[in-house]
C-alpha cells in the first residue's frame, strides 16, 4: 500500500458552483470589456480590431486627466475629513445606556438613505431660493450657488458625502473602541498617561484593523461616486463635479464610444485596485 493520501479528484465538483457564479458575475463581463476595448465597434455585426489604440487615445484625453485629477483631490478630501471626524465622533458617543442607543440610531440615519435621495435632499437643501442651507447662506451675504460656481458645486458634493458616510466610520470606530478591555484604560491611569497618550498608544493601535476597513471602503466608494453629483448638477457646472464615473458614463452612454469606454473601464478598475493594494499594505500590521 502506498502511504500517499488518496487524491479524490471528484472534490473539484464542490468548487464548481462558485466557479460558475464567479465566471458569470465577474469573469465573463470583464472579458467582454477587454474584448470591446481592443475593437472599434461600428455596428452590431461590424467590429475592427484596433489593438491598443483606444488605450492610447484614452490616456491622452485631457478630459480624463481633468476627471482623474478632480477625483483624486475629492477622494483625498473625503478620507482626510471622514476618517478623523468619524474617530472624533466615536470617541464622543456615550459608552452605554439609552444615550448610547439613541446616539447610535441618530448617527446611523444617513446610512439608511439611498444615494439618489441623498442627492435630491441636498439639491433642494442647498438651493438659494427655496433650500434652507442655500437661503441662509445667501441671506448671510455668502455668494453661494452650486449650479453656477464650480467650487460651490464641488464643496457641496463633498459635504454631502461627509454627511452621508462619516457615520459609517464613526460606527466602525465605536465598535472597535468598545472592544478595548477596561484594564488598558486602568493601567494608563495608573501610569499617569495623558488623554492624548491613551488615544495615541491604546485606542488608535486597537482601532487599526477597523480603520483599515473603513479607509478601504471609503476609498473605493468615493472613487466610484456617481449618483450624488449626477442628481445635484449632472457633473457640472462645466466639469466641476465630473468625476471618473461621470466621465465614463458620458463616454459609454452619452457618446456611445464603447471601445474607449471599455478601455477606460479597465484603466479605472486598475487604478482602484492599485490604490487599495498600496493602502492595504501601508495599513497592514507591521508585525
Amino acid at each position: 500500500m502506498s502511504s500517499a493520501k488518496p487524491v479524490n479528484q471528484r472534490a473539484w465538483w464542490f468548487v464548481l458552483p462558485v466557479l460558475i457564479s464567479v465566471a458569470f458575475s465577474a469573469l465573463v463581463p470583464l472579458m467582454t470589456i477587454v474584448n470591446y476595448s481592443v475593437q472599434d465597434i461600428l455596428g452590431p455585426d461590424q467590429a475592427v480590431f484596433v489593438g491598443m489604440e483606444w488605450y492610447k487615445e484614452i490616456l491622452r484625453d485631457p478630459d480624463l486627466h481633468g476627471a482623474l485629477y478632480r477625483q483624486l483631490i475629492f477622494t483625498a478630501a473625503v478620507l482626510a475629513i471622514e476618517i478623523p471626524l468619524g474617530i472624533a465622533l466615536a470617541l464622543g458617543i456615550p459608552e452605554r445606556g439609552w444615550r448610547a442607543s439613541l446616539t447610535l440610531v441618530l448617527l446611523a440615519m444617513p446610512l439608511l438613505i439611498p444615494w439618489n435621495v441623498v442627492g435630491t435632499i441636498w439639491q433642494i437643501f442647498a438651493r438659494g431660493d427655496i433650500g434652507l442651507l442655500g437661503y441662509v447662506l445667501t441671506q448671510l451675504g455668502v455668494d453661494y450657488n452650486y449650479s453656477q460656481h464650480p467650487t460651490d458645486a464641488w464643496v457641496t458634493v463633498l459635504v454631502m458625502d461627509v454627511w452621508h458616510w462619516t457615520p459609517l466610520v464613526a460606527l466602525l470606530s465605536y465598535a472597535a473602541l468598545r472592544a478595548i478591555p477596561e484594564p488598558f484604560y486602568q493601567a494608563a491611569r495608573i501610569d499617569g498617561a495623558s488623554r492624548w497618550a491613551v488615544f495615541r498608544h491604546i485606542e488608535l493601535p486597537k482601532m487599526r484593523g477597523v480603520l483599515t476597513i473603513a479607509l478601504l471602503l471609503r476609498l473605493m466608494d468615493s472613487f466610484m461616486i456617481y449618483t450624488e453629483p449626477f442628481v445635484l448638477t449632472g457633473g457640472g457646472p462645466g466639469t466641476a463635479t465630473t468625476f471618473l464615473s461621470q466621465y465614463l458614463t458620458q463616454k459609454a452612454v452619452g457618446q456611445f464610444d464603447l471601445g474607449p469606454a471599455a478601455a477606460f473601464s479597465l484603466v479605472y478598475f486598475l487604478i482602484i485596485l492599485l490604490l487599495c493594494f498600496v493602502l492595504y499594505n501601508f495599513m497592514k500590521d507591521p508585525r
Binding site: R189, I190, D191, H201, K206
Partner: protein, 356 residues
C-alpha cells in the same frame, strides 16, 4: 512607600441593591509589608484592591496614605502602581518605552530614567528585549513588562498585583513568584497581591488577608492561617484538603462527640444556641486502635494510598473527616475505628467563628 489605612471602607456597586461588594471594614497595611489578598472569585478582593489604587471610589469610608486622606484622589494622583490579570502593554512602543512610560509621564530626566529602566529590566531579565516592539512578544513576556511597569517607580506607596500570574505558564510562574519575593526584600516595597491560589498567597506573603463574601475573615501569617483559622471558611480554604469540622454538642462545660468529652484549645465558653463543631486539620487527626481520652468512635469509609501519605476518610457521627497519615498505618480496612483529636491541635467553632 507608605502606610495605608482603610477606615470603615465599604463599597456597593451601582445597581447591586443593598448587597455590599465589600463590607465596611477597617485595617492598616504596614509600610514595606508583603500582603496577599486571598479568596475565591467574587469575594471582593479586586474591589478592595481597586479602592486602594483609586480606580474605584468607595461608597463609604476613608483611605489614607501615611495619614494623608486620598479617598477622593484619582489613581494618577495617588502614587500607586498596579499590575493587572492580563498583560497590558502599549503595542506601538518598544519594551524600553513601555517600561519608561510611567516615568516619562512624571517628567523624569533621561539619564535617571535610562538607569532605572535598565535596573528593572535587569531584575526581570528583559535586557535582551529592550529594543523590541512589545506587541511581538509572548504573553509571558508581556506580563513581565506589565510587572516591570509596576515596579519601575521606586517612590510608590505600594505596588498592587491583581492575579498577575494567571496567564504565565507554571514553570515561569514559580520563578516569577520567587523573583517578586526577592524584589520585595531588595527594594522594601509595599506589595499587595490578589490571588485565589493559596499556594501563591502562602509562599509570597508575610501577611495573608483571607476574604469571603465581601468580608475579611482573617489576617495572619501563613502559619496562623493553617494552625488557628479564625473562621470555618479559612479552615476550608487553606490546606488541601481543608480542615475537618466535626459536629459536637455542649454538655456540662465541655464539647462532646457521641458522648465522648473532647478537650480543645478553646478556653472560653461558646455562646448558647450556636451550632458547634470542632475543627481539626487532616494532618493532625490520628487513628487510634482503642477508645481513650479525646478519642471518638469512627468508621473508615475510604482509604486512598497516595504513596508518601495515606488519606483516610472517616465518618464521625454525622460528619465526614479526612485524616492524612504520614506513615503507612499498616493494614487498614474499612469498618470501625477510633479517631483521636489532639487537644492542642483542635479548636471549638461556634457557628462560623473560632471560640478563643
Amino acid at each position: 512607600m507608605a502606610r495605608i489605612d482603610l477606615e470603615d471602607v465599604g463599597h456597593r456597586y451601582a445597581g447591586a441593591g443593598d448587597s455590599w461588594a465589600l463590607r465596611p471594614m477597617t485595617m492598616t497595611w504596614k509600610d514595606g509589608g508583603a500582603y496577599a489578598l486571598l479568596g475565591p472569585s467574587g469575594c471582593g478582593k479586586t474591589t478592595l484592591l481597586n479602592i486602594i489604587s483609586g480606580l474605584i471610589t468607595p461608597t463609604r469610608g476613608k483611605v489614607s496614605f501615611d495619614g494623608r486622606d486620598v479617598t477622593a484622589l484619582p489613581p494618577e494622583a495617588r502614587n500607586i502602581a498596579q499590575v493587572f490579570q492580563f498583560p497590558v502593554v502599549y503595542d506601538t512602543m518598544t519594551v524600553f518605552d513601555n517600561l519608561a512610560f510611567p516615568l516619562r509621564n512624571r517628567g523624569w530626566d533621561k539619564p535617571r530614567l535610562q538607569k532605572r529602566v535598565e535596573e528593572v529590566a535587569d531584575i526581570l531579565e528583559l535586557q535582551a528585549d529592550l529594543g523590541r516592539r512589545a506587541r511581538a512578544l509572548s504573553a509571558d513576556q508581556k506580563q513581565k513588562i506589565s510587572l516591570g511597569r509596576g515596579l519601575v517607580r521606586p517612590d510608590v506607596a505600594a505596588v498592587l498585583f491583581d492575579e498577575p500570574l494567571t496567564v504565565i505558564d507554571p514553570h515561569l510562574k514559580w520563578l516569577l513568584r520567587r523573583k517578586l519575593k526577592q524584589i520585595h526584600q531588595q527594594l522594601k516595597l509595599s506589595l499587595i497581591y490578589v490571588t485565589h491560589d493559596q499556594t501563591e498567597a502562602l509562599t509570597f506573603a508575610d501577611q495573608v488577608v483571607v476574604m469571603s463574601q465581601g468580608e475579611i475573615v482573617q489576617i495572619g501569617t501563613p502559619e496562623e492561617l493553617f494552625e488557628t483559622p479564625a473562621h470555618r471558611f479559612v479552615g476550608h480554604f487553606i490546606g488541601s484538603p481543608g480542615m475537618n469540622f466535626l459536629a459536637c454538642e455542649w454538655h456540662a462545660g465541655a464539647a462532646t462527640i457521641a458522648g465522648v468529652r473532647v478537650a480543645t484549645s478553646s478556653t472560653q465558653t461558646p455562646p448558647a444556641g450556636a451550632a458547634l463543631s470542632i475543627g481539626v486539620r487532616p494532618e493532625h487527626l490520628e487513628l487510634a486502635p482503642a477508645p481513650g481520652p479525646n478519642t471518638v468512635p469512627a468508621r473508615i469509609a475510604a482509604i486512598r494510598d497516595q504513596g508518601i501519605q495515606t488519606m483516610v476518610q472517616l465518618e464521625v457521627g454525622a460528619s465526614l473527616a479526612w485524616a492524612k497519615l504520614r506513615n503507612s498505618p499498616g493494614a487498614l480496612s474499612s469498618g470501625t475505628a477510633f479517631a483521636r483529636l489532639p487537644p492542642a491541635r483542635c479548636a471549638l467553632y461556634a457557628d462560623e467563628r473560632r471560640v478563643p
